[in-house]
Amino acid sequence: MKSSESVNKSPTGNQDTGLPLFHSWKGVYLFVLASFVLWVALLILLTRMYS
């Protein structure tokens, strides 16, 4: 456990995430932000279509 902690000390984290598609933490965070933008865009679209 300790080795895992020290490996991941970098705040932005360029270490491997263990995920098949996203190998760096930056990639994971970008994916989260992209999904957020997509959801907001879809909600705006829903609002515009039905109001």
Partner: protein, 569 residues
């Protein structure tokens, strides 16, 4: 409820509780009781989700969607950004110091009094907030069985206390994923049956068209008026600070993700929530909107709260409340007829007739809403203890009146699962913080782990009793899901400010930040009483005030030397 419902309810609840006890058997040291074991990321993600998603979420949020539409979803716009910030900055520090509570870090970074202040702010707001989450299942029990509300609050509160004290943090974590499974199964079944029960010929697009015309699909509001409660700006900016405070400084959440096996597991658990939170809340709100459309085609009660409805039934025909019910039923009938005309014209391709009929339906509906609002005020004159806003009763009324037996049991089980998962996590965190930050830090510095374990259980019982006491007054709340967030907004900003100063303003010491926090919290109390701005702005104001006051006070007090032991963190 039928015998089948009781079998489903009792079977699922006992099954989960039994599994929790079996999985955590023999784990009775302080570390596993307070922090839990080596939890994988998926379980952490579900645990974080289950802790936030109490019975209030599943009972009151559809009511919010029914009454006000999808706009409430904007409060969750801050979640993704907040969770990324926590994963990048907060998590490595908490894990690196191997703390039981987030407030231990404040003690290491600043001093004892600042740690106690942070813990006290958490205990105050979370202790009161726990009262609101205990109130939700009491609504279910009162509606299902007709038992007195006070009795159901006390009995369900005692059940949760026993469950939490018996299991500890590990039991909370290992059972939460199964509780969430029951919750999602119940909600999904409700959505499918609701869609099936909509009138024949009303397609999903038609349903959205009706909801849109009645202003229920306004999910995003670009207004810059600070007095408007839910806008995209208050959601993204204010919501980020609210969620940053909640997920980053509230021990009930910190305790969940610190139980991860490694930093990676904790981070992935948070990112899982960052992706899933908005769609999940959207779906729950949409369920409320669909129930709204359903009740435009089916007779709805004047009041969904059965106590209020019974009050009208008990009165004679000369009572003004009876007249309100007659007028409301008439408006409903007109709405229904006009909607049926609209549906026919729409399917015939007659756009002009469709528009006319839909406009007439909206007018008739508004008449009905005016009657309902007036009757609600009138009811308070006859019965001052009645709950004026009965949106919290909408979903449970729909379940009991419209869904088949077996499904009713499943959904009541879902509410109890949500209560147990979130309430147990809250009580466990309250007990942990009181034990670690007050008992072992102030009262018994030489206490053994066994003594702390016993003390933690007693403190859990104490906070459970406080929550029950507060729940007895929760009926005064406007709407439960909003009340929980309003309460958090008052305290969270300053709590977040303490951590922001700790992380990013290394020149500020304990004395400056302590008095700055006291000043900032006083300012928030005054602003909350005086201003009518959206409550989502208070966490931002509280945090900014705490940071600004800290810097100013430190400049006044002179240079602060950072403790050597934290120099490397």
């Amino acid at each position: 409820m039928s015998a089948l419902d009781f079998v489903v309810l009792i079977g699922s609840m006992l099954g989960i509780a039994g599994y929790g006890i079996w999985r955590t058997r023999g784990q009775r040291d302080l570390n596993s009781y307070l922090k839990g074991g080596h939890t994988p990321w998926f379980a952490i993600g579900l645990s974080v989700m289950a802790t936030q998603a109490s019975a209030v979420t599943f009972l009151s949020t559809p009511g919010q969607g029914f009454a006000n539409g999808l706009g409430f979803v904007q409060i969750y716009f801050g979640v993704p950004l907040a969770l990324i910030i926590i994963a990048v900055f907060f998590l490595p520090i908490f894990r690196g110091l191997n703390v039981f509570t987030a407030y231990e870090y404040l003690g290491k970074r600043f001093d004892s009094k600042t740690r106690l202040l942070g813990a006290a702010l958490f205990l105050t707001q979370r202790g009161l907030g726990a009262g609101l989450t205990i109130y939700a299942p009491a609504i279910v029990l009162t509606t299902v069985f007709g038992w007195p509300l006070d009795l159901t609050i006390i009995s369900s509160g005692v059940l949760v206390i026993i469950y939490t004290v018996a299991g500890g943090n590990d039991a909370v974590t290992v059972t939460q994923k199964y509780q969430l499974g029951i919750i999602f199964a119940g909600m999904l079944t409700a959505v499918c049956l609701l869609l099936h029960k909509l009138p024949a010929g009303l397609t999903f697009t038609d349903t959205l068209a009706v909801a849109g015309k009645f202003q229920k699909l306004n999910a995003v509001n670009f207004s810059t008026n600070p007095n408007e409660r839910y806008t995209i700006w208050s959601g993204i900016i204010g919501g980020t600070f609210l969620m940053l405070s909640y997920f980053g400084t509230d021990q009930s959440q910190v305790q969940r993700y610190l139980s991860g096996e490694s930093l990676r597991e904790s981070r992935l658990g948070l990112m899982f929530n960052a992706v899933c939170k908005i769609p999940m809340q959207f779906c729950i709100l949409l369920l409320g909107v669909l129930i709204f459309v359903f009740y435009q085609f089916e007779p709805a009660p004047l009041f969904f709260n059965p106590a209020s409805e019974q009050h009208i039934v008990d009165k004679t025909n000369s009572d003004p409340l009876r007249a309100y019910e007659t007028g409301f039923n008439s408006a409903q009938t007109q709405t229904r007829q006009q909607l049926e005309n609209w549906l026919q014209a729409r399917h015939d391709g007659n756009q002009s007739a469709a528009s006319t009929a839909l406009a007439a339906a909206v007018d008739a509906h508004q008449q009905g809403e005016i009657i309902r609002a007036t009757a609600s005020k009138e009811l308070l004159v006859y019965n001052p203890t009645s709950k004026s806003n009965d949106a919290d009763y909408v979903f449970i009324t729909f379940i009991l009146q419209q869904l088949p037996h077996g499904v009713i049991g499943l959904l009541v089980a879902a509410f109890f699962a949500a209560t147990f998962s979130s309430k147990a996590a809250e009580l466990n965190a309250l007990g942990s913080s009181t034990t670690i930050d007050f008992y072992r830090h102030l009262m018994r510095r030489d206490a053994t782990d066994a003594e702390c374990l016993t003390a933690s259980k007693w403190f859990t019982i104490f906070w459970g009793a406080v929550a029950i006491g507060f729940a007895l007054y929760a009926h005064l709340a406007e709407n439960l899901i909003q009340a929980v967030n309003i309460l958090g907004s008052i305290f969270y900003g300053v709590m977040l400010g303490l951590f922001v100063v700790a992380f990013f303003f290394r020149f500020v010491g304990g004395t400056a930040v302590f008095w700055a926090a006291v000043l900032a919290q006083s300012l928030i109390f005054i602003l909350f009483a005086k201003l009518s701005i959206s409550y989502l702005w208070f966490p931002l104001i509280g945090c900014a005030a705490c940071v600004a006051f800290s810097c100013l006070l430190q400049m006044f007090l002179g240079n602060f030397r950072k403790p050597d032991k934290l120099a490397a963190t």
